[in-house]
């Protein structure tokens, strides 16, 4: 009796899980795929035949291509800068104890536990106050603010789980700190660094709110989509087509990286 009930519960949970993932998570994305090849500029529940016209139109939209390019540039810049700035404090925060460390931890983490809009608005006001003209650069600078704590949050638990005996052994055998770091520590945390870099890149590429407040005339992909939705006629299918490309490429990339064990996304 108990066994049968257990089985029944398991089946119900399985069905529930697959329905939620299959229908709820994937349904809106499936719709984008369908309409990116449906031969109509409108969202009508009707199949008008297969077309690749919308994909061809992507190339005609210079603003769209520029926005993708801008997003990529910002994401690369943000990833490099925030990794360089945030890796050393991650070690410090793990290996120190005491009051200064706790305060420092809070100091670096607070930008992460406030809504992104705060970073956007604060930097918007800063750039206005200093009279700096907003551009891709100002947006990238603002992205680094939430990326620093992001990298720290991803890295610290993994640095914490490193066995300090390995580094001590290396030092005992006469290696100096730099050699030890290069040959022992770095290879051990390389996967974590890779995942921190990938998540930082993805979040920056995807970020809307911070970009929205700190960009100038050149837009990133999410901000561009926001700026044309409902305003530019017949742009929807082109957005669909581009979205399909972005989703496909990013999904394949994430899948491969996860498969190869290069990144721990979870």
């Amino acid at each position: 009796m108990g066994e049968a009930l257990d089985k029944l519960i398991s089946y119900c949970l399985a069905a529930y899980t697959f329905i939620v993932i299959g229908f709820f998570i994937y349904f809106p994305i499936a719709i984008l795929y369908v309409y990116s090849v449906n031969d109509t500029p409108y969202f009508i529940p009707e199949w008008r035949g297969f077309t690749l016209e919308w994909f061809a139109k992507i190339v005609q939209r210079q603003d769209l291509l520029a926005s993708i390019w801008n997003s990529l540039i910002i994401a690369v810049f943000v990833t490099c800068i925030s990794m360089a700035i945030a890796i050393p404090p991650s070690f410090y925060l793990v290996r120190r104890r005491g009051r200064i460390r706790d305060i420092y931890f809070l100091y670096t983490i607070i930008p992460f536990i406030v809504p992104w809009i705060i970073i956007g608005v604060a930097d918007y006001i800063l750039f206005w106050y200093l009279g700096i003209e907003k551009s891709l650069m100002t947006a990238a600078l603002a992205h680094v603010v939430y990326s620093i704590p992001l990298v720290i949050i991803i890295l610290t638990p993994r640095i914490y789980s490193l066995d300090p005996a390995l580094e001590e052994a290396s030092m005992d055998l006469g290696a100096d700190e730099l050699t030890t770091f290069k040959n022992i520590t770095l290879p051990l945390i390389a996967p974590s660094i890779a995942s921190a870099a990938i998540i930082t890149f993805a979040w920056s590429f995807d970020n809307f709110i911070v970009s929205y407040f700190t960009l100038g005339n050149e837009l990133t992909w999410p901000v561009w989509v926001f700026s044309v939705i409902g305003k530019v006629p017949r742009i929807m299918p082109v957005i669909n087509a581009m979205s399909v490309i972005v989703i496909t490429v990013s999904s394949i990339a994430i899948y491969i990286l996860a498969k190869k064990g290069l990144t721990e996304l979870i």
Binding site: S10, I25, Y26, I85, I118, V121, I125, V145, P157
Partner: protein, 295 residues
């Protein structure tokens, strides 16, 4: 002998300090210049008398009083709080069984399914909001379906440009991020504990009530940090699908900034900041820092 060692000791100490400064100064300085200093300016501006296009630098507290007294503000603040709370609670209710299933019943496929759940969300925040417009809109697929099934005669307008739409889209955006911490929590419970409980004759329900749920508390906390606080500042979702009933504080901040009414925009932002920090502080007090790490 001992004298000759001393300068070297000082030198090493000096090197040590230099090393830590070189490692930590950039992050300290960066966050100071691009986060804490701007917040200070924001706070100063929030205390000035609102004037369009300029900041007057006449200090007053009236903006903060207004936030609580003028219905246009406090209604939206309340609305934000309700939307985010409802979405967070629903997210927990929807996500928990999935996490439980993946972690305890089907652990062999758990990691994989979770990956498939996360893949579509990593890079497509705005696109997915936009996809929901297609489903929930007045001529959207949901209405078409209801009409063709004969459930309603005319398209319903409640799905779109509403509070309801905002909650649905928030749930869709954040669901994987809520499943993950619960999943990690549940996986972390050692098998032996279950076996011991079962050996002692506990039923599955008893095990869930006395072991599984209490041990999911840290997951609950990360949900506050991953969903509740970030969505308080949500702005794209309400502007794209929210309409009048789905208005949130982010829309107000955007409205005042684009009208270049900096004082009010700054007041609302600072209020949101304070609120987030107070909630975080309470949570960290109760549960400790570890909760921040479960992502």
């Amino acid at each position: 002998m001992s004298n000759s060692l001393e300068p070297e000791g000082v030198f090493r100490r000096f090197k040590y300090i230099i090393k830590y400064l070189a490692g930590n100064l950039p992050s300290l300085a960066y966050l100071l210049l691009l986060f804490y200093l701007p917040i200070a300016i924001l706070f100063a501006i929030s205390l000035t008398r609102p004037r369009k296009y300029i900041v007057t630098w006449e200090f007053t507290l009236e903006n903060y009083v207004k936030v609580f007294l003028e219905p246009t503000y406090y209604r939206v603040l309340w609305n934000t709080f309700v939307i985010v709370s409802v979405a967070t609670i629903l997210l927990i209710v929807v996500a928990y069984p999935i996490a439980y299933y993946l972690a305890r019943i089907a652990p062999a496929i758990g990691d994989k399914l979770l990956l498939y759940m996360i893949i579509p969300v990593e890079v497509n925040y705005l696109i997915r909001i936009y996809a929901w417009r297609v489903i929930l809109g007045e001529n959207g697929l949901l209405n078409m379906l209801l009409i063709s099934l004969g459930i309603v005669e005319k398209p319903l307008t409640i799905f779109f440009y509403s509070w309801f739409a905002v909650v649905i889209v928030i749930i869709h955006e954040y669901l994987p991020y809520v499943v993950v911490p619960f999943y990690l929590n549940l996986r972390g419970i050692p098998r032996e504990i279950y076996e011991a409980a079962m050996d002692l004759g506990a039923t599955r329900l008893q095990i869930i009530r006395t072991i599984v749920l209490p041990m999911s508390k840290p997951g609950l906390l990360s949900v506050i940090f991953i969903v509740f606080i970030p969505t308080l500042g949500e702005f794209a979702i309400p502007s794209l699908v929210g309409g009048q009933t789905g208005l949130m504080i982010g829309n107000l901040i955007d409205r005042y900034l684009s009208q270049f009414n900096l004082a009010i925009g700054a007041t609302l932002s600072f209020f949101l900041l304070l609120f987030s920090i107070i909630i975080s502080a309470i949570m960290i007090r109760i549960f400790g820092y570890e909760a921040l790490y479960t992502r």
